[in-house]
Symmetry: C2
Subunit: 211 residues, 2 copies
């Protein structure tokens, strides 16, 4: 069983509410998703030198040698999906969530394994629709180069994982980032309502780090 | 894009607490999982005429033409994994959850897609550790042949899916099935505590159908 360690950025992409869309119109939804994969997601990943490990229904696992390329790919996927879906009725549009982490993974002959794959999956679940949730390990590779539009989400305990991860959020819709799924943006120590906690905690903390 | 409909039983396997095990000892956990896949899960699926669509870290997606074979395969996987893991310290043992559904899926050149794949995934999340959660579509293919040890879990609304699914549970540990994760066994209309509701609702309803 061959297995070797390498540094990689791990990206998990998933589609918000895919089950609901399948429930309503299964075959058309599957056809649209396969087309989106082939015409939008695959070319975007390839052009950012990423490797697609597998697709799973409405999601995908990819790896990149370069974490900056991975982040830029995530931004490009969101932009490209929004463009591809612009002609679709709003409630039927695919909206992706993307989770991104960076670290030492175990490359096997069938894919990549290890803790950072699980972390990327947990971060994906925290991401807003149309947005990206990424760890400070991705953030730190940018130094001061990261453009605006990101919010710091604090150190989070992720399900079944021992060590907390410092998380960041990017969204194609800044209002959406602040107002949707506010519970995912809450930061410890704030006693206000969830929504205000999200706004105060995250915008406040992020102001100094992320333009 | 070639796509055709076929009837299939869809099985999703996942490992309880895999992230926790990875957090504690990443490399040994991945090696053990790869070995379990190769030496236990793959041969069990092949011997039940199943097709493995993909593996994802601690999980797998398989399809079977015959729902009875799929259910028997799920039982065999649980037995085989318990046997393979018997020598491992209890808190480090892999314990699988299995979700099973049956229906019309969309077979593509890269795998299977559609609503029943999503349903199997939701059922997997409801399964107890070492157990199986399966729909009435699987149950009904057995007629009166299903052996004891199953509990009826009622009609459940599954996340983001329009139609409720009638679910059944099997566990390698009957006490565990009744007492662990009792909230997953609750049935509508009972006003007692969660645990008693689980016992009364499910054992009661199941008595006439199962065992």
């Amino acid at each position: 069983m061959s297995m070797e360690r390498k540094q990689a950025a791990v990206m998990i992409v998933d589609t918000a509410g895919f089950g609901q869309l399948l429930s309503t119109d299964e075959e058309a939804t599957v056809r649209r998703m396969l087309r989106l994969r082939a015409e939008t997601i695959v070319p975007t990943v390839v052009s950012h030198l990423g490797q697609i490990i597998n697709f799973t229904g409405d999601g995908a696992l990819m790896v990149f040698d370069d974490p900056s390329q991975a982040f830029e790919c995530a931004l490009s996927i969101q932009t490209a999906v929004n463009r591809a879906e612009a002609g679709i009725e709003r409630r039927r549009r695919f909206r992706m969530r993307i989770g991104l982490d960076y670290g030492s993974v175990l490359a096997t002959n069938s894919g990549v394994e290890g803790l950072h794959v699980v972390i990327a999956s947990r971060l994906e679940a925290l991401a807003p629709q149309g947005g990206i949730c990424f760890s400070d390990r991705i953030r730190n590779t940018f130094g001061d180069r990261l453009n605006g539009g990101c919010l710091y989400g604090g150190a989070r305990r992720l399900k079944h994982l021992n060590d907390p991860v410092e998380v960041w959020f990017w969204s194609d819709d800044q209002a959406g980032l602040r107002l949707s799924r506010p519970e995912t943006l809450s930061c410890k120590g704030f006693r206000t309502t969830k929504r205000r906690r999200a706004l105060r905690g995250c915008v406040g903390v992020s102001a100094g780090l992320c333009a």
